[in-house]
């Protein structure tokens, strides 16, 4: 494998890791507050559709992004209503949201665009274009560092940079601010938060709304940056892989970055079977690579690589007790 192939492979790793990373951090906020969210997939899908549809109609990708975030937050609030206010089962609510999004997106797409459940192809300002970082052209001739900068670091959509910036921001918010302390506490022992005079319900809603915003960006990235338009079921299980990454990352922001990059690499390798064959001399089926994130998560959960302890109050609706 030559150097340029490696750069290409890593470049595509970054692209594929971005939606996983955003969704994984979205799940992190929600689950750290004690609300399990298997509806990441559905929220991404809804956001992918609404951002592509509104971008197509308005001609502005930014308006599309807002629409995508709006759709995702709306579903988050639905999840919050079911699981926080009405103390319903969080898994069932999440599953319902996934089904709702899968059905509604295609239905509305057909009604609006009559293109068999897809949106028109996005062009020009309706799509996130790659951003060329300064001096990318000029530096590309520099050996080694040149291609790394111009091919790997430069030339991504603005959402990619945003996603990577979200990692330190999340870390800082969780571990250095009052909000983060309370958020982590409410996922561990909501009674401690409640008796300290802080609203459990308020914190948990805040968490699911942040989750909705990040999922919305992840979905918008799929349809307006990675692809040019929405197609049926385009989230393709990424919400679930993000959940796997969250467990793999033990609910920590920096680990989430490494986990999603790793899973992104598997995705990149899936499209380049020749690379693996040249590296290890065996032909590996793409399906195996696609399954690898789940297999690794099972191994992690089984406790082979350290312990993954989920937030203790996760999945439990908070009921005040005497």
């Amino acid at each position: 494998m030559d150097f340029l192939t490696l750069i290409q492979l890593l470049d595509s790793t970054v692209r594929l890791a971005t939606p996983l990373l955003l969704a994984c951090l979205a799940g992190l906020f929600s689950e750290r507050a004690g609300i399990f969210d298997i509806g990441l997939e559905g929220k991404m899908l809804a956001a992918a559709f609404f951002s592509a549809a509104v971008a197509a109609l308005s001609g502005s990708v930014w308006v599309g992004l807002l629409a995508g975030i709006g759709a995702s937050v709306a579903l988050s609030l639905l999840h919050g209503l079911a699981s926080i206010t009405f103390r319903g089962n969080q898994l069932i609510s999440g599953v319902a949201i996934n089904f709702l999004a899968a059905g509604l997106t295609v239905l509305i797409a057909q009604d609006w665009f009559s293109q068999g459940g897809r949106t028109p192809s996005l062009m020009g300002g309706a799509r996130f274009e790659p951003v060329s970082l300064p001096f990318a052209e000029a530096l590309s001739a520099v050996p080694f560092l040149g291609p790394v900068y111009s091919e790997l670091i430069s030339g991504h959509s603005v959402l990619v940079y945003l996603a990577f910036a979200t990692v330190p921001m999340t870390w800082w918010l969780l571990y250095r601010t009052r909000f983060g302390l309370r958020l982590r506490a409410v996922g561990e022992n909501p009674a401690a938060v409640d008796t300290a005079g802080v609203s459990v319900i308020g914190l948990r809603y805040a968490a699911v709304i942040i989750c909705g915003v990040l999922c919305g960006i992840a979905g918008a990235y799929l349809s307006t940056a990675l692809q040019a338009g929405f197609v049926k079921d385009m989230s393709a299980g990424r919400g679930f892989i993000a959940l796997a990454a969250l467990i793999f990352a033990k609910w920590r922001p920096w680990y989430a970055l490494w986990a999603t990059l790793l899973f992104g690499l598997f995705g990149a390798l899936e499209t380049r079977p020749d690379v693996i064959q040249s590296l290890i001399g065996i032909k590996v089926q793409g399906q195996l690579l696609a399954a690898l994130p789940y297999i690794m998560t099972v191994i992690i959960l089984a406790g082979f690589v350290g312990k993954a302890i989920p937030p203790r109050a996760g999945g439990e609706p908070y009921v005040k007790e005497r």
Partner: protein
């Protein structure tokens, strides 16, 4: 005259048809320790929950230092200078002490300044009240006594002048409890007002200045502690005269029923919990196992009850018991005539969401009388349960009620009825009266003694030394997986046993 720190006037609160608090008035003067005593379900916790803003009273007024105060939520209670130490601590286990203390009382959006300030003030509080804790220790790594200190510090850090402690000694060793009362004494000297909720008469007598007694939602009396006696308080609590001592004849021990030789148990972490136990229990005697919790008593009950593996030789009526393998489980043990009232009745003795009749059948669900062809004869189980509940005075006597809806004492009676009514040769009992109110304690003790007088062998484990001395005919003290010594209970006292419990002595 100074205004009372807390004055409640005519507080009433009903949950549906149940009147939890009826027209309660109480005055607590500043700088005193005021006890509130009552049986489980008397309404103590409801009253304190109203004071801490968890519930809203249907009627009545609250005055804090003479000012009428509304307390709609915990935040208002904290603002009014009230701090509460709950029976089950409200701490975040994987946070540090410091993080738990500032949670909800941070100054500003960033943590660093808040943590620095709390660290400084913690040093001050430690000096002032003798409340030393390591601010950087994780809660899950410190003992319950320390965790309780953190709860007290949490309240003090929030400038609480009034401290409410709900059954604070339930989880503490006697030494830790003594330490707690010393701290409370210091707090009183500094002018803090303390409300101590408990059902233990001894704590009231030792620690409080005044005491209020609650019974069935009503405040039956408020007296100066120095003017009253345990017997009088017990009578006020229960509403009738109570025997504080167990009335029993001397034991008439017969043949050896249980013979334990060289019993060892190693736990999952490969730690040896029992290091060679030798013990005999005869027919018609109660052998009490005393000791501070965690010295191997639980493991002893578990291996005898058939849900932990051990090595050694144990015989029952001369026949060997399997200590591991497929004949070492609860079913085999019951088949051999061993009844077991587990230490933690809510986890091991009952399924809390299941009804009393279902719980009564557990372990004995293969009994002939409960079968109807291939199916269980539910009606027969219900009828049987109703009879047992009547004999053991379980209230309310409703077999269809879920176990969690009974008070602690009545839950214990359900378990006892299930085990005793099977007429076992050997009864294992762990912590028979933990979390059980006085009226029920008396009844449970009588049942245990009655079983002994029928010539059954009883092995009793309790962390309450008083209970051991009152019930047991012979006492074995456990320390660090060994039996430190055996005494006849008529020939020993708390002091001697206390030394053995600490690992000192023969």
């Amino acid at each position: 005259m100074t205004a009372p720190a807390i004055e409640l006037k005519g507080i009433s609160k009903a949950f549906g048809p149940v009147q939890a608090n009826k027209d309660i008035s109480i005055r607590v003067m500043p700088g005193t320790i005021h006890g509130i005593i009552g049986e489980n379900g008397a309404g103590k916790s409801t009253l304190m929950s109203i004071l801490y803003g968890f519930y809203k009273a249907d009627k009545g007024e609250i005055f804090i230092s003479g000012t009428k105060t509304e307390i709609p939520d915990s935040q208002a209670a904290i603002a009014a200078g009230i701090g509460m130490v709950f029976q089950h601590f409200k701490l975040v286990e994987n946070f540090t002490v410091l993080e738990n203390i500032i949670l909800g009382a941070e100054d500003g959006g960033l943590l660093r300044p808040s943590l620095a300030k709390a660290r400084k003030s913690l040093i001050g509080l430690a000096e002032e009240y003798g409340l030393n804790v390591d601010p950087d220790a994780l809660i899950e790594e410190i003992g319950v006594g320390m965790q309780q200190r953190v709860e007290i510090l949490k309240a003090l850090y929030r400038q609480a002048d009034i401290l409410i402690l709900d059954e604070p000694t339930g989880v503490l060793t006697p030494a830790e409890a003594d330490q707690l009362f010393r701290i409370l004494g210091r707090l009183r000297e500094e002018g803090k007002t303390i409300i101590l909720i408990t059902h233990k008469l001894r704590e009231i007598m030792e620690a409080t200045d005044t005491v209020s007694v609650m019974r069935r939602g009503e405040m039956t009396a408020t007296v100066k502690t120095s003017d009253t006696s345990p017997a009088e308080l017990a009578e006020l609590m229960v509403g009738r005269k109570v025997l504080l001592r167990v009335d029993k004849k001397p034991a008439a021990p017969g043949d050896v029923v249980l013979d334990i030789k060289g019993l060892r148990v190693v736990d999952d972490q490969k730690v040896e919990r029992l290091k060679g136990i030798d013990l005999q229990v005869r027919a018609g005697e109660i052998v009490g196992i005393a000791g501070v919790a965690g010295n191997g008593q639980s493991e002893l009950l578990e291996v005898l009850g058939g849900y932990a593996d051990g090595t050694g030789v144990v015989t029952l009526n001369g026949q060997t018991l399997d200590l591991s393998g497929k004949h070492s489980d609860g079913r085999s043990r019951r088949g051999r005539g061993i009844g077991h009232v587990p230490e933690d009745r809510q986890r091991e003795g009952l399924i809390m969401d299941f009804s009393a009749w279902e719980n009564t059948a557990f372990g004995y669900h293969r009994a002939e009388a409960y079968q109807s062809g291939l199916l269980l004869n539910n009606q027969a189980i219900r009828n049987d349960t109703a009879e047992k509940m009547a004999r053991f005075d379980v209230r309310p006597p409703n077999p269809a009620l879920a176990a969690k809806n009974f008070s602690g004492g009545n839950q214990q009676k359900i378990v006892l009825a299930r085990e005793i009514e099977r007429n076992p040769d050997l009864l294992l009992i762990g912590q028979p009266t933990r979390g059980v109110d006085i009226g029920a304690i008396e009844f449970i003790h009588q049942q245990i003694v009655a079983l002994r007088d029928q010539g059954k062998a009883i092995l009793l484990v309790s962390v309450e030394l008083e209970e051991i001395l009152a019930l047991a005919d012979r006492v074995a003290v456990m320390f660090d997986g060994h039996i430190m010594g055996e005494r006849l209970s008529s020939e020993t006292d708390e002091k001697e046993l206390g030394l053995l419990m600490a690992g000192v002595g023969s």
